[in-house]
């Protein structure tokens, strides 16, 4: 029965489930995600609410890029390990990443376009 199950398309072999990480890796990734979220909030607190002097003053101009970087790290960790893109077929990665790139381009284009239009009127 196990051999039959192992040969089932859509279950173990074709979707590379045998390559999926185990619970220990999942927990480690979970801890990293939690730390990154705590870092995000810390960057917000220090960079905005304690920006008068010290590290806050240094951090203040780069709060947005740092937050975006931390967010991208969290996104990549969830997609690679929890959504198994690292171990699954590359076709799944393509089907996900291609629209993701278009989505990023759409956001950048919208912001740039409206920033330009705004600068014309004011």
């Amino acid at each position: 029965m196990d051999a039959q199950v192992a040969a089932t398309p859509g279950t173990t072999p074709l979707d590379h489930d045998h390559d999926h990480p185990g619970p220990a890796v999942y927990v480690k990734i979970g801890i990293v995600l939690f730390i990154l979220t705590a870092l995000e909030v810390a960057v917000y607190e220090v960079g905005y609410n304690h920006a008068e002097a010290g590290f806050g003053a240094v951090l203040h101009p780069v709060v947005v890029p740092v937050l975006l970087l931390l967010s991208a790290c969290k996104f990549a960790l969830v997609a690679m390990f929890y959504m198994h893109l690292k171990s699954d077929s590359r076709l799944f990665s393509g089907v996900f990443v291609f629209p993701l790139i278009i989505a990023a381009v759409i956001i950048c284009a919208l912001v740039a376009l409206f920033f330009y239009l705004h600068s014309l009127h004011y």
């Binding site: 999942y26 927990v27 995600l33 995000e40 959504m83 077929s89």
Partner: protein, 216 residues
């Protein structure tokens, strides 16, 4: 009786060997395609939020105080602490659902039920947090019609909350399947597909949280 069992066995066997041109399960490819299309949907909402960011003519504002022409004082409206707890729980729910999937793939029903139950609870807490937040905002004078921030904020987070609600309902149906012993290892893909949707809802929030709540 024996014939029925034989027919069921042959049916399972036939299903087990149904090939696809990609060599991948069509349902899994379909959910990934759907997730890809959802990326574009949320990109348009996040893009709209960013375009309207800081363009509101009247308050309440997300991070700044505001005094109306009538002299009414409005505090900054966003509450970072509450949303941080909701964000952490949503991240943990992603961990829980992947542990549940691990249990389902190995035929460990207890593990599946426990972690799936935890995931559903985290999802429900997140929805509760959002309902509280929306109600609180309305009481503080911010509705979808108040200003550009209100319109883009409620649309973006409201659509995300709707996705979370659909995800919770989906996970509850899978939980019931597991409870009724209808989620054997060979059907773990049913949970994997629901889990992929749930992770997507999580990664969308991973973007929304800093963009809406943390960036001034």
């Amino acid at each position: 009786m024996a014939d029925t069992a034989h027919a069921a066995h042959v049916g399972t066997h036939m299903e087990a060997h149904s090939e696809t041109s990609t060599g991948l399960d069509s349902r899994k490819l379909a959910i990934w395609t759907f997730i890809g299309s959802e990326c574009l949907f949320f990109a348009s909402l996040i893009g709209t939020y960013l375009v309207y960011r800081g363009r509101s003519l009247v308050g309440p504002f997300p991070h700044e105080e505001w005094v109306s022409p009538a002299g009414v004082h409005f505090e900054p409206i966003l509450e970072i602490k509450l949303v941080t707890v909701g964000t952490a729980l949503l991240l943990f729910s992603s961990l829980f659902v992947v542990l549940a999937l691990n249990g389902a793939q190995r035929g460990r029903r207890g593990q599946t039920l426990t972690w799936l139950g935890m995931t559903i609870l985290c999802g429900m807490f997140f929805i509760g947090m959002q309902v509280y937040e929306f109600t609180h905002f309305v009481h503080k004078g911010l509705t979808i019609k108040t200003n550009l921030f209100g319109a883009s904020f409620f649309t973006l987070t409201g659509f995300h909350g709707t996705h979370v609600t659909i995800g919770v309902i989906w996970l509850i149906t899978v939980f019931i399947l597991a409870l009724r012993r209808k989620l054997p290892p060979e059907k773990a893909l049913n949970l994997e597909i629901a889990a992929l949707y749930w992770h997507f809802v999580d990664v969308v929030w991973v973007v929304i949280f800093p963009v809406v709540y943390l960036m001034k």
